[in-house]
């Protein structure tokens, strides 16, 4: 509780570091901030070629299906991957100044979250171009789904960033795991096409319900089921609590171990 209060007190630090990330990310590149949009655009072109021309998925309006799962996935994987290295990347600051260390994973997750919000312009554009349906009631659930994903991503970022300080391989292990994880989440295909014996793996994956809710809102234009939302939210909270506890325990020796 005391740590949460301190984190709130340092909100100006969090805000200015997020601004710094946003401004620093594209500084020096010619197209600058446009890359936020060019990057997913290129991805969608690649995946469209692969999944609607070579490996046919059978879903109609596949582009909407894919983009509505992929942009939230980028947010999640970006937070976890960048989060894994965030304490070590700021070793200089951690060793020299005091501030609540939780600020660093929070900054990474928030930065990725804002990137996702900006990319939603792109999702809306795709839905319009592909003549998908908009259901305002369903879209009303979006903030809750995003919050759920934010908490889940933050929990994992806290957990992995703290462990990476002591065990550097984790950064590489995380990137390999994420590579497999994207295919164990129903982003490029629907849950119906998954063989029964693989279903338990998909069910254990905390990202499955989150992505399914995005699909439900954006692709199927239906509000997510309340039970699914509640379940996903609770599991996100569980990850957040676990992450904070581990972080709080390991954080004491950061300055010495780096």
């Amino acid at each position: 509780m005391g740590r949460i209060r301190e984190l709130v007190e340092y909100r100006e630090m969090t805000a200015s570091l997020v601004r710094r990330e946003l401004r620093g990310k594209y500084k020096g590149s010619i197209l600058g901030f446009l890359w936020t949009f060019i990057n997913p655009l290129c991805q969608i072109v690649i995946y469209t070629v692969v999944f609607s021309m070579i490996m046919r998925s059978g879903l109609e309006n596949f582009n909407i299906y894919m983009i509505s799962g992929m942009i939230p996935w980028f947010f999640f994987s970006g937070s976890v991957l960048q989060g894994a290295g965030c304490i070590r990347a700021h070793a200089n600051m951690v060793k020299k100044i005091y501030f609540p260390r939780e600020v660093l994973p929070v900054v990474v997750t928030t930065f990725q979250f804002i990137n996702m919000l900006l990319s939603f312009i792109f999702i809306i554009a795709v839905v319009i171009v592909e003549k998908g349906r908009f259901n305002p009631v369903a879209w009303g659930y979006l903030p809750l789904v995003m919050l759920t994903e934010y908490l889940l991503a933050l929990g994992l970022a806290l957990l992995i960033s703290a462990c990476t300080v002591y065990f550097r391989d984790l950064e590489h292990i995380t990137s390999v795991l994420l590579m497999a994880w994207v295919y164990l989440t129903p982003i490029f295909y629907s849950m119906e096409t998954i063989p029964d014996y693989l279903l338990p793996i998909f069910r254990c994956n905390p990202m499955t319900p989150v992505i399914e809710m995005y699909h439900s809102i954006i692709y199927y234009a239906k509000p997510p089921e309340t039970a699914a939302l509640a379940q996903a939210f609770l599991s996100a909270i569980a990850f957040l609590v676990l992450g904070s506890l581990v972080f709080g325990k390991l954080e004491e020796n950061f300055a010495e171990e780096l």
């Binding site: 200015s16 501030f99 020796n253």
Partner: protein
């Protein structure tokens, strides 16, 4: 009122012979992870009153800087307790967290935020900080274009203008030219009068004479002497002198 109270604090560090952090190294060379514990502080106690300026002296490696890092909460003690009441600002590592591509003004915001200031508080101090740094027009240029002197002046100006209750200073009063240095001293005296507790680590005895009310002599991780500036400085110099021969 006591702003700092340090009670029976012990601190030891792991000194790795050859640290292997990668999984491969851990498996292949288990011996590389051997380390020994080096006790740096072996039971230190002292307290500082509000508005007091305390100097820490002692030979290299005696634990002075470790004490400052413990006070600033960068490190945690292994045993004992440290109570610090109020906002801490440190002139320990100046400019940590500066971003080279951003302007001086933007860096003031980021750096002051790292000290825990809110936006409103930063706005209120912005002019003071810029004036103190003597950067003038350059404040809106990227920090990477600064000379090292300008860089240090900016960092110093932020750290000293955050209105801390406790200011920790580690051997960095060699910032800028003679004029700027004497301005820094003037500022230190001013904030001391305003009730800030100052803890200084320094080897420059004249500086300590000028500012400190009290000296603490640390030797081998223990407090050797604690008290009047002149008395302790003399005893310390005599002891250093005798060791040299």
């Amino acid at each position: 009122m006591e702003t700092i109270s340090v009670c029976e604090v012990k601190k030891s560090f792991k000194v790795y012979f050859d640290k292997g952090n990668m999984l491969k190294e851990r498996i292949l060379f288990p011996n590389r992870n051997r380390y020994e514990r080096r006790e740096v502080l072996r039971g230190i106690s002292f307290a500082c009153q509000k508005g007091e300026a305390v100097g820490l002296i002692g030979k290299n490696g005696c634990g002075k800087s470790t004490i400052l890092k413990l006070l600033s909460r960068i490190l945690r003690p292994n045993e004992g307790t440290i109570t610090v009441n109020g906002r801490v600002s440190s002139l320990i590592e100046l400019g940590a967290g500066f971003h080279m591509d951003m302007t001086g003004r933007e860096n003031i915001y980021i750096n002051a935020a790292i000290f825990g200031l809110k936006k409103k508080e930063i706005n209120a101090r912005l002019d003071d900080i810029i004036r103190f740094s003597e950067l003038g027009e350059s404040i809106d240029n990227p920090v990477r274009t600064y000379s090292s002197g300008m860089y240090m002046r900016l960092a110093f100006s932020v750290a000293i203008n955050v209105d801390a209750d406790i200011l920790l200073v580690d051997e960095i009063l060699a910032v800028g030219d003679v004029n700027f240095q004497s301005k820094c001293f003037e500022k230190l005296r001013e904030i001391k009068r305003a009730g800030t507790t100052i803890v200084i680590v320094s080897h420059a005895m004249e500086q300590l004479y000028e500012i400190c009310d009290r000296l603490i002599w640390i030797e081998d991780g223990m407090v050797r002497m604690d008290g009047d500036v002149r008395q302790i400085a003399e005893a310390y110099l005599v002891s250093m002198e005798s060791r040299r021969t």
